[in-house]
Symmetry: C2
Subunit: 406 residues, 2 copies
């Protein structure tokens, strides 16, 4: 007998028919004798509708009321899933964030989990009852409903698995697992049986959309074994686990991409101490995340060109912040490019293998693809390229690193 | 400065546009300096959708999960209404049943209110904040969301007005007030400026759909002054109040009808003590409400025919219960008729005027309408007639009692 947390995303609970399917998957685990907590997202489309209503009701909406409105989506699914389980003869009870409670800080709309009280839930496990938890939501210290930000149900599930000391956290989604590359672009992409936390974290932050970055970080921190699998197919999925569990590592495990990138270059910034703080301080103050950064010394030896990336949605705001800080930064001009994409190769095997970056640069050069920015970490190399070459780059790299399916 | 509870029904909050309209009505009261609590229903159609989903998820659904699902409708509206108020510059905060809390018993799906804690809400009033309360829902002693039954938001509003000792409870709906008869049937129906609690109670239970019976009973008990008015028209509506406040009573105040009736006759029941208990006991045990009852002694002097009405939705269940109890009741046969309607004339003035029932019987006889059952109370006379004569009966009675508009 094991203790499991099963999480089902919006497409898996999009209709009553699909909720019944979810119930039968859960019943399978219960029948084996497992203790099961289920975490559900809102029915696909519901959250978007609720967010849209909030925007229509008030352009600059109060995030406390926003949270109250959007959390209703998961509330509905949790009740319906409990009902579907009951109609299969499985004892089940829904739990809202405020009922457990799942305590968060008061950062409404993107709250952080502080702790989950599970004593009552564990007592119900002992009685054979399945807990159906509304994902994405918690209770702030202000006594109000909080939400964890988009994709927060993954985080709810992993945090609950950690709190319950679950043997496994199964994330059911509409894809069959984690692939070596996006199979919609790279036809020869293969499903990975296992992937290490660190790799999954880099894959997620590099653009692979299968798991929310934050939930992977949490899984890594608490060593929660996470399985990613499809609620529509009956296959094993991908296990996200400690690297020690993976017997044989390839050098590169996967290739990710993100088109959600925009490049900003500050031309001829005086090359003096404190200039980076003058640039990135104001951006951080406005909550704008900066990703890749490169700096080149200009010919004159006294100034430097500084290039970095932000998400496309934040480009206009970032430019506005920089223009306002121009008197402190003293750049000559600012150029932007939102026609770029980030392509990343990721693999724990890189730690012990040289030449991974070299292979990447040569492969792209052979295809005539220009590299605009490069950044590396211990297990990742990322490049910024023209967005129009994204698919070409992904396929060429997938072949170059020997990832193609036979 | 007064303290008001304003309640808005489903059609009044059916779209974001209408929620904005609600916000502007509330703002008008706030601008005058009133302390305001708003009670909102779910957007029109939402509750039906949620109920339908529950039914699809489990045919015999657990009412605790049903409550969790359907209460989400009011949660959404409460947040959106708070947002719309904020965007007009009005300080506002939403309150769910569990947040106040509004405590109820554990009779899920039709819970009764035990009490409302208003201390925090009153503190916020002092700070000029409007409370936007999700109607229809409360918190059971089991720590779970309860709902008050269909139309329960009226009850929420009146109970809140009583708890807050509000000066008035305004029920905004899609009609302009309480009429002498349904204006869709009786073109000459007039809006009443005032109606006594007792009359409103009889009107509501006799079929007038403008206010939920239970909320009227609660208003009468706590002497809450209730105003019924339209959120779409700028007119005064109808005040439901103590009869002492009404200077001049007509003999009859209004005529109500209900097509939601079915008649059951038990033929040749032995006329002996305990037979009524044998019949109505089992029905009560199954939660089936019996309305009109008449008993005639048959020619033989030893048996009696017993006729009574139930709601149409409960007819099949009632017949089933009676057939099962046949060995105790010993009736010869059972006949049913679901093609009947109940027509009632109501007025506090009846107490001091004789001949009201006589006028009713004569008026119906003149139109050739046969009366199947008659019941009377101190301020009401009800008759059961063929459903096809409903409109004819209403118009004729409206004229006969001098209620027609000039």
């Amino acid at each position: 007998m094991a203790r499991l947390v099963l999480k089902f995303g919006g497409t898996s609970v999009a209709t009553i028919e699909r909720i019944r399917n979810v119930a039968s998957i859960v019943k399978r685990e219960v029948d084996v004798g497992h203790e099961v907590a289920v975490v559900v997202s809102a029915m696909a489309g519901t959250t978007n509708q609720l967010v849209e209503w909030c925007r229509e009701a008030a352009r600059l909406h109060d995030s406390r009321e926003y949270d109250t409105v959007v959390a209703a989506g998961e509330q509905i699914t949790s009740g319906l899933t409990a009902l579907a389980l009951q109609s299969l003869g499985v004892s089940a009870r829904s739990w809202q964030g405020w009922q457990m409670p799942l305590r968060t800080d008061d950062t409404h709309a993107s709250a952080r989990i502080l702790g989950i009280e599970t004593a009552l839930m564990e007592q119900r496990f002992a009685e054979g009852q399945v807990a159906v938890v509304a994902g994405f939501q918690g209770l702030g210290s202000d006594g109000r409903i909080t939400t964890l930000g988009r994709g927060g149900s993954d985080t709810s599930a992993v945090a609950l698995a950690a709190a319950l000391k679950a043997d496994r956290c199964d994330i059911y989604t509409d894809v069959e697992g984690v692939f070596t590359a996006d199979p919609r672009i790279v036809a020869k992409a293969r499903k990975l049986d296992k992937v290490a936390y660190e790799e999954m974290l880099e894959l997620a932050s590099a653009g692979a959309k299968v798991l929310q970055t934050r939930s992977v970080g949490l899984a890594m921190l608490h060593r929660v074994r996470v399985s990613v699998l499809s609620s529509f197919a009956d296959s094993a999925g991908t296990l996200v686990c400690d690297e020690d569990e993976i017997v044989e590592h390839g050098v590169v495990s996967g290739i990710a991409y993100s088109r959600d990138e925009a490049k900003i270059t500050l031309v001829r910034v005086p090359d003096r101490p404190g200039v980076a703080a003058a640039i990135f301080g104001p951006l951080a103050d406005q909550g704008i995340n900066v990703d890749m950064i490169v700096q080149n010394v200009a010919d004159d030896g006294r100034t430097t060109d500084l290039t970095f990336t932000v998400t496309r949605a934040e480009l206009d705001r970032a430019v506005h912040v920089l223009e306002n800080a121009k008197k402190d930064i003293l750049f000559e001009r600012l150029t932007t490019d939102d026609g770029v994409a980030k392509v990343s190769v990721i693999g724990i095997g890189m730690r012990s293998h040289a030449g991974v970056a070299g292979t990447m640069f040569k492969t792209l050069a052979d295809k005539g693809i220009n590299i605009k920015v490069i950044t590396t970490s211990e297990i990742k190399v990322s490049v910024l390229i023209d967005a129009q070459y994204t698919e070409l780059a992904l396929r060429a790299l997938h072949t170059a690193y020997g990832l193609d399916a036979a």
